[in-house]
């Protein structure tokens, strides 16, 4: 609408006289106004952002720092289940696309202070190791009927009130002597992640979560030990109920390295004011307004939407390049999207399965985590741009683990220059 009128104005300028040159500049600046409007609105929105808490990974201080009675936030290794008895089972443990049991990615201890029932609250994220499943999962997450969708990334939330059957009501002392009130359900010997309710038929003491893990453990060292274990199986199985004071040993080598997640507020941007840039750059600053050719230059070198969002993503990350998690639980909060394509709209997000209230953004996982995990960089190895987790706004109560929603954004492989 305005573009047509601007073109008419351009047609009017045949010979630039001195008077008309000024008008030309003004009109050129008006063109500048239209272009800049979009950028400025983005900047205004950024100013009203909610405070974000960042998560960084670190090696745990002690071997017992990441046990469940310490209520940790951790990445990699085995999950420190909050509710040790009512674990997810059956279809919730496996990737819907390939059938492999899911691997633990990270857990975030995020209690809600307003509600009594969420005095303890942890969100767990699991995903399938296969990149093929992740690519297929992209199609699934766009589907609207989420009850029937098959995902390879699953999120579970668990919450407990302060007085509960599993932990004491006093805070843990932060040393080795902390114990939970009761040992939890036994876990799989291979992955240490899921409930081990299936036994090895031979020795009856090794527990597994699924047929696949039993087969893997058999091939990777259980076969010679099985005989010995079956002989000693008259003794109560001590390896699974160790009272929860020592870290569980798992047989799988493909688990990701274990880290603790420490949190910090995102610091204010360090606007390093240009000390004397005004003096040095005066010669370069020209007084002429912007013209069309510069716009075309900007178009190709400033980038399209995808590149712009990537550039602002990188700028934000650059303040703290080691961050792996961005936490901001609020209805107004917007995740920091690396790409402009592949973002969900309000309609794409489902409602909570259990209580029907809408979901709100809680946190997002960044790809720096892959670097810390030492993931290989092949064609088929895992790679994502961001995993955004949405949880029930009301944080509905209930026993056990509730499934929440994860949105994965993969990086597009578009070339840089047009």
């Amino acid at each position: 609408m305005e573009i047509a009128s601007v073109e008419k104005l351009k047609g009017l300028q045949i010979t630039p006289l001195e008077d008309e040159e000024e008008e030309e500049e003004q009109k050129a600046q008006e063109i500048a106004v239209d272009e800049d409007d979009d950028n400025d609105y983005d900047e205004d929105e950024e100013d009203e952002e909610e405070p974000v808490i960042l998560g960084f990974v670190e090696k745990p201080d002690h071997s017992w720092s990441l046990l469940r009675q310490q209520f940790p936030s951790k990445a990699g290794g085995v999950p420190a289940w909050l509710d040790p008895d009512n674990l997810p089972s059956g279809r919730s443990c496996v990737c819907d696309l390939c059938g492999e049991p899911l691997q633990f990615l990270l857990q975030v201890y995020a209690p809600l202070v307003e509600k009594e029932s969420s005095f303890h609250r942890t969100v767990f994220v699991f995903m399938c190791l296969s990149m093929n499943c992740l690519l297929r999962d992209q199609h699934e997450q766009w589907k609207r009927h989420h009850e029937k969708s098959s995902r390879s990334v699953k999120v579970y939330r668990c919450q407990l009130p302060r007085v509960n059957a599993f932990y004491s009501s006093e805070p843990p002392k932060g040393n080795k002597s902390d114990k939970p009130l009761a040992p939890g359900a036994p876990l799989c010997n291979w992955c240490g992640t899921w409930k081990g309710d299936k036994f090895c038929s031979n020795c009856k003491s090794a527990r597994y979560c699924s047929q696949k893990h039993q087969a893997m453990h058999w091939g990777a060292g259980h076969k010679p030990q099985c005989q010995q274990l079956s002989l000693s199986s008259q003794l109560p199985d001590s390896n699974t109920c160790n009272g929860g004071t020592a870290a569980i040993k798992v047989a799988s080598k493909s688990l990701w390295p274990e880290y603790e997640i420490k949190n910090e507020h995102e610091s204010e941007s360090e606007t390093e004011m240009s000390e004397d840039d005004a003096q040095t750059n005066n010669s370069l600053v020209s007084k002429s307004g912007m013209d069309d050719s510069m716009k075309s230059l900007l178009d190709s070198f400033e980038g399209d939407c995808d590149r712009k969002s990537w550039a602002s993503f990188q700028e934000r990350i650059a303040k703290a390049p080691e961050q792996i998690l961005r936490y901001c639980r609020s209805t107004k909060a917007k995740p920091l999207w690396p790409m402009s394509s592949g973002r969900p709209s309000k309609a794409d997000l489902p409602k909570c399965h259990y209580c029907g209230s809408p979901l709100c953004f809680e946190f997002q996982i960044l790809p720096q985590l892959l670097y810390y995990f030492g993931v290989k960089n092949d064609m088929n190895s895992l790679d994502w741009a961001s995993i955004v987790v949405y949880t029930c706004e009301a944080s509905c109560e209930g026993v056990g683990y509730k499934e929440e929603f994860a949105w994965v954004q993969l990086s597009s492989a578009s070339p840089n220059l047009p």
């Binding site: 500048a32 808490i53 809600l112 420490k262 360090e270 020209s286 510069m294 230059l297 578009s414 840089n416």
Partner: protein
């Protein structure tokens, strides 16, 4: 580790209630230098570069992989990469309370040995605009092919053939020149060509070269085409090599770097 036991809030300092005050001492404002060294790659290519599996930009160009992190270029090209601000223009937006000025910076980067990049960034402060433009320039870095005018003695010093680039109404034509001719061009493309590492060239331009944007973009387009021109050196059938992502599969064993750089290096010979 501070713990808040109490009626409100949970035991450990979890996410959400109030993060902050960490033992790591991140609250301290560190100098920029330290942050730049601690680059944690975000893309797969970045992780490969940081691990040292990719040693030159040519490997990335060969497979047309998009470079999304400027630290990749920093690591691969290194300290020989120079940058220069070509122009800073103020642009204004009309608001109710007057005018809001922002600065647009045009920056050219190059190592003087076959790689140039151009970046444009607008920001409220000049320094931020320049920094952003340098990053964008590093991301848009392209290889430039050089050749000989006559005898193939010494290193290539000029464009391999007559090439022309166009943007808007501006066309820039580059013609190979003998050694010692120097860069015969206007002030603006001369800078770009110096960063590219071309020592001698004759140029001819047409159109409204007053418009700096189009002029620079036309020379850039011209340099882009140097590797696009089919010369008899490229007549040999291409031996396709595995991309860096496939190369480092455990199944395939050690890659042969000679194979990858073969086509690129032969072209320069």
């Amino acid at each position: 580790m501070a713990e808040r036991g109490g009626e409100r809030g949970a035991f450990r300092r979890g996410f959400g209630g109030g993060g902050g005050r960490s033992d790591r001492g991140r609250g301290r404002r560190r100098g920029r230098k330290e942050e730049e060294e601690k680059w944690v790659p975000v893309t797969k290519l970045g992780r490969l570069v940081k691990a040292g599996k990719i040693t030159s930009l040519e490997q990335i160009y060969l497979h047309s992989l998009p470079i999304k992190e400027h630290q990749i270029v920093d690591l691969l090209v290194g300290p020989s990469l120079k940058d220069e601000v070509m122009k800073i223009t103020p642009v204004q937006k009309q608001t109710r309370a007057g005018q809001r000025t922002r600065f647009k910076a045009f920056v050219v980067v190059g190592d003087g040995n076959g790689h140039v990049g151009l970046g444009v960034k607008c920001s409220k402060e000049v320094a931020t605009a320049i920094r952003g433009a340098i990053i964008l320039a590093k991301l848009s870095i392209i290889p430039v092919r050089r050749g000989y005018w006559g005898n193939k003695i010494g290193k290539p010093h000029t464009v391999p053939c007559k090439v022309t680039g166009k943007c808007g109404s501006v066309t820039v034509r580059m013609v190979p020149a003998p050694r010692g001719a120097g860069i015969v061009a206007a002030r603006v493309p001369k800078k770009v060509l110096q960063f590219a590492g071309i020592e001698d060239v004759f140029t001819s331009s047409r159109g409204s070269t007053k418009t700096l944007g189009n002029f620079v973009k036309a020379t850039f387009d011209c340099l882009l085409k140097t590797y696009g021109f089919l010369t008899p050196d490229f007549w040999r059938e291409t031996r396709f090599s595995k991309s860096p992502f496939q190369e480092y599969w455990d199944l395939l064993g050690k890659p042969t770097k000679a194979l990858l750089l073969d086509d690129v290096e032969n072209a320069n010979a």
